[in-house]
C-alpha cells in the first residue's frame, strides 16, 4: 500500500499551507499537491458595502502586501467612477507601490529565502532563519533589514500608517506629497541602491552553487503572464496584460485589463479553496501559467531603468527563450528591487510630483469596474459590480498565488520526485519541498478568497487509487 506523507504547516510562509505527497508501492513519489486550507471569504463579506470603502477593506486581505490590494481596488473604483486619475495622483500611487515591492521582495529574499541560500537547505531548522543569517552573515542580514525598513518607511511616510495606509482612494490619493517627505526619501535612495547592487553582485556568484535546485525547482516549460507598458517595459501599476509561451514568444499581447476574463478562466478543484486560473485558448490544465518576478522579467523586453536594464540583459543569458526554473524568482526579485529604487527616484525627481491635483471626484458612472496591477507576487485582479446606489453586489479577485497555483503543484511534484526516495524522509528533503513553494513567495491567507461553498476534500490514496482516508469540510 502506498504511503502519504503530509508536511503541515509549511513553516516560514505567510498563512498556512498543506502539502500531500502520494507514494507508489515502491515508495517513489507519484504526485504531490499543495493545498491551501485557510480561507477568509473576503469576496462574500464585501457584498452590500459602499464601494468607496473597498480599497481599505481590500487592504485588510493581507498584512504583507496591503498596498497592492489598495492599488488594484482603487483602480477598480476609478473604473466605477469612470474617472482618469491625474498623472501626479497616478505617480504617487506608483511610488507607494514601488516601496511595497522593495519591502515585500526584501522580506521574501532576505528574511524567508536567504537562510536556505546562506546556511544551506540542510542546516538546523532552529537557526535556519533571519537570526541565523544575522549570526553567520551579519552584513547581508543587516542589508535586508535596512532595505525592508526603507520600503516600509516610504509607505508609512506617504500614508501616515505603516501596515494599512488609507491614502490611496478611488480617484487618486487623498493628499498631495509633502516636500519634506520627498526630500527624506530621495536622501535615502542612494544607500538603498547600493544595497541592491551589492546584493545582486553577491547573489550572481552564490546561485551557481544551487545547480541541483535550479534544475528541479519548478523547472518546466509554462506560459508566463504580467503587465507591460506599451513600450514593453516593466510596469507594476498600469499597462496591458501579456501572455508569453515557453519559447519566449508573446502569444497574446495588449490585453486591456478590463477584458482579462476573455483570456483567463478559473477552474475549481474539490481538494482546495484556491481556484486554478488558466489561459482560456489553451484549455485546462494545459493553459497554466506563472506570474510574479520571473514572469515579469520573461514577459518584458526591458526594465526601463538603466541599472536594472544592465542586470536584466545578463539575466536573460541564463536561458534561451523564457527562463523556466522557478529558482530564478529570487534573482528576478533582486533585479526588481533595483528597478523599483531607480524608478522611485525618477518619479520623485520630477517636480510635477508635488502637484496638488491628486484626486478626481465623481459619482459612480459604471456599474462594473476592473482594476489590474502588479503586486510583488504577481498580477492582481480586482473586479467589482455595484448596484445603482453604489453598493457592492459582486466581487471577483484573482491573486498572484492563485495564478501560480498549478505551477506550484507541478513544482512540488517535481522536487518531491527528485529528492524524496522511498519511505525515508530526511529533514533536508522536506525543506526542499517547502523551499520550492517559497520561491513563488505565496501569500496564502489572501489567495484563498472564495467563500466556503466550495467543498474542501483531502483524499489520502494508496498506489491503487484507493482512498484510505478522506477528510471533507465545508461541502455545500
Amino acid at each position: 500500500m502506498g504511503k502519504t506523507i503530509t508536511i503541515d504547516p509549511v513553516t516560514r510562509l505567510e498563512g498556512h499551507g498543506k502539502i500531500t505527497i502520494h507514494l507508489e508501492e515502491d515508495g517513489s513519489v507519484r504526485e504531490s499537491f499543495f493545498h491551501v486550507t485557510q480561507f477568509r471569504g473576503f469576496e462574500k463579506f464585501c457584498e452590500g458595502r459602499p464601494f468607496a470603502e473597498m480599497p481599505s477593506l481590500m487592504a485588510r486581505i493581507c498584512g504583507i502586501c496591503p498596498v497592492s490590494h489598495l492599488i488594484a481596488s482603487a483602480k477598480a473604483c476609478d473604473a466605477l467612477l469612470a474617472v482618469r486619475v491625474s498623472d501626479t495622483g497616478a505617480n504617487l500611487r506608483r511610488i507607494m507601490n514601488l516601496a511595497q515591492f522593495v519591502q515585500s521582495h526584501a522580506l521574501s529574499f532576505f528574511h524567508l529565502a536567504s537562510p536556505d541560500l546562506l546556511l544551506g537547505m540542510d542546516a538546523d531548522p532552529a537557526s535556519r532563519n533571519i537570526f541565523g543569517v544575522l549570526d553567520a552573515h551579519p552584513s547581508i542580514a543587516r542589508d535586508g533589514i535596512r532595505l525592508r525598513k526603507f520600503g516600509q518607511q516610504v509607505i508609512e511616510r506617504l500614508g501616515e500608517k505603516r501596515v494599512h495606509p488609507a491614502w490611496i482612494v478611488p480617484g487618486g490619493v487623498s493628499a498631495p506629497l509633502d516636500t519634506k517627505v520627498r526630500e527624506l526619501i530621495l536622501a535615502e535612495l542612494p544607500e538603498m541602491k547600493e544595497i541592491a547592487r551589492r546584493t545582486l553582485a553577491w547573489y550572481k556568484k552564490a546561485y551557481r552553487a544551487f545547480e541541483a535546485e535550479i534544475a528541479t525547482f519548478a523547472n518546466f516549460p509554462s506560459l508566463f503572464m504580467s503587465l507591460a507598458s506599451p513600450r514593453g517595459e516593466l510596469e507594476f501599476y498600469d499597462g496591458q496584460l501579456r501572455m508569453m509561451d515557453a519559447a519566449g514568444n508573446v502569444i497574446h499581447g495588449n490585453i486591456e485589463s478590463n477584458r482579462y476574463h476573455e483570456v483567463i478562466e478559473e477552474a475549481a478543484e474539490p481538494y482546495t479553496y484556491l481556484k486554478f486560473p488558466y489561459y482560456k485558448p489553451m484549455g485546462y490544465p494545459r493553459g497554466f501559467y506563472r506570474v510574479g518576478p520571473l514572469a515579469r522579467l520573461n514577459v518584458v523586453e526591458q526594465c526601463g531603468t538603466p541599472e536594472a536594464d544592465r542586470e536584466f540583459r545578463e539575466f536573460q543569458q541564463l536561458q534561451e527563450g523564457a527562463i523556466s526554473s522557478s529558482f530564478h524568482y529570487h534573482y528576478a526579485r533582486l533585479i526588481e528591487i533595483l528597478h523599483s529604487l531607480e524608478r522611485m527616484e525618477q518619479l520623485l525627481d520630477d517636480p510635477a510630483i508635488l502637484n496638488k491635483r491628486v484626486r478626481a471626484v465623481a459619482e459612480p458612472n459604471n456599474l462594473e469596474g476592473v482594476g489590474v496591477a502588479e503586486a510583488p507576487r504577481g498580477t492582481l485582479i480586482h473586479h467589482y459590480k455595484i448596484d445603482e446606489h453604489g453598493l457592492i453586489e459582486w466581487v471577483n479577485m484573482i491573486i498572484a498565488t492563485g495564478h501560480n497555483n498549478m505551477a506550484m503543484n507541478k513544482g512540488v511534484t517535481q522536487v518531491a520526485k527528485h529528492f524524496v526516495q522511498g519511505r525515508e524522509i530526511a529533514e533536508g528533503m522536506l525543506n526542499r519541498v517547502e523551499a520550492v513553494i517559497r520561491t513563488f513567495d505565496p501569500c496564502l491567507s489572501c489567495s484563498t478568497h472564495a467563500v466556503g461553498q466550495m467543498p474542501l476534500e483531502i483524499d489520502i490514496m494508496d498506489a491503487q487509487g484507493e482512498v484510505i482516508r478522506r477528510v471533507v469540510r465545508g461541502a455545500p
Binding site: 458595502r49 459602499p50 468607496a52 477593506l57 485588510r60 446606489h389 453604489g390
Partner: protein, 239 residues
C-alpha cells in the same frame, strides 16, 4: 425669580461649586472642567438619558444618576470618577461594541468616531461579552448620504436633530432592545423618504460612522457639529 433659577451649592469630586437650579450635573461638571463621557447627549438637542455613559454617584441616592438629565440640587455631593463608575462605563462601551459590527479599521469614521475615542480612553483592548450583532443592509438609496446600521449605537441624536432642529421627523426608532433600529419615514428606504429635506444634520451629529456622506472612503468622514450651537442660539434668541 423662579425656583429653578435659584442658586444651589454643591460638591463635585470634592470641589465646592454653585449652579443655577435649572442646570444639569453634566453642565456644572463641564463648567468646572470635569470630563464626563457622553454619547447620546449633544448640546442643543433635548436630553434623553439613553446611553447611560454619563452616570454619576450622588450621595444619598440609592442608584446612579445620568448627569445629562439630572438637575443639580442643594447640597448635592457628586462623584464623577470613581473606579466603580469607570468599570460601568467600560462595560457599557463594550456592550455597544458587541451589539453592532464596529470594525473601526474599515469604517468611514475611523479616527473621528466618538465611540472609538471613548473606548480608547477607557483603555478597551477587547470586548469581554460575546458579540451579538447581526448583519444589516446598508441603505445607500439617498443621493447624498449613506445609512449603515451596522455602526449605529441607537443614540437617537439623528432622530432628535431631525425633529427638533430641522422639523422634518424623518428618522425614528423601530423595535425594542437588541432588535431596535433606525427607520426613515414609515420604514421606507431613505432615498424614497418624502419628509427628508437632505439637510444633512443627522449625518453631522451622528457620533459614529452610521450616517455618512456618500463617496467617503475609510477614515475620511469627519463630522461638522459646529452648526448646531449656532442654530440653537438663534432658535433660543427668537423664541
Amino acid at each position: 425669580m423662579s425656583v429653578l433659577q435659584e442658586v444651589k451649592t454643591l460638591t463635585i469630586n470634592g470641589r465646592e461649586a454653585s449652579a443655577r437650579g435649572d442646570e444639569t450635573i453634566l453642565e456644572i461638571a463641564r463648567e468646572h472642567g470635569i470630563f464626563v463621557p457622553t454619547l447620546c447627549h449633544l448640546h442643543g438637542l433635548s436630553p434623553v438619558g439613553g446611553c447611560r455613559l454619563c452616570l454619576v454617584e450622588v450621595e444619598g441616592a440609592n442608584r446612579l444618576l445620568p448627569a445629562c438629565t439630572t438637575r443639580v440640587g442643594e447640597g448635592m455631593v457628586i462623584r464623577t470618577d470613581s473606579d466603580r463608575l469607570k468599570g460601568y462605563r467600560r462595560m457599557i462601551l463594550e456592550l455597544f461594541l458587541s451589539e453592532r459590527n464596529h470594525t473601526c479599521s474599515v469604517c468611514v469614521s475611523n479616527g473621528y468616531c466618538e465611540l472609538q475615542s471613548l473606548s480608547r480612553d477607557a483603555g478597551i483592548t477587547h470586548v469581554r461579552v460575546p458579540y451579538r450583532y447581526q448583519r444589516y443592509t446598508v441603505d445607500a438609496s439617498h443621493e447624498l448620504f449613506v445609512a449603515d446600521q451596522n455602526r449605529c449605537i441607537m443614540c437617537t441624536r439623528c432622530v432628535r436633530v431631525c425633529e427638533e432642529v430641522e422639523g422634518a421627523h424623518t428618522w425614528d426608532v423601530q423595535g425594542r432592545g437588541i432588535e431596535a433600529r433606525l427607520i426613515s419615514d414609515m420604514n421606507e428606504s431613505w432615498g424614497d423618504s418624502d419628509s427628508c429635506t437632505s439637510c444633512g444634520k443627522c449625518v453631522q451629529v451622528c457620533p459614529t460612522g452610521a450616517l455618512s456622506e456618500k463617496g467617503k472612503s475609510v477614515a475620511e468622514m469627519s463630522k461638522r457639529k459646529q452648526f448646531l450651537p449656532y442654530l440653537t442660539l438663534m432658535r433660543d434668541k427668537w423664541k
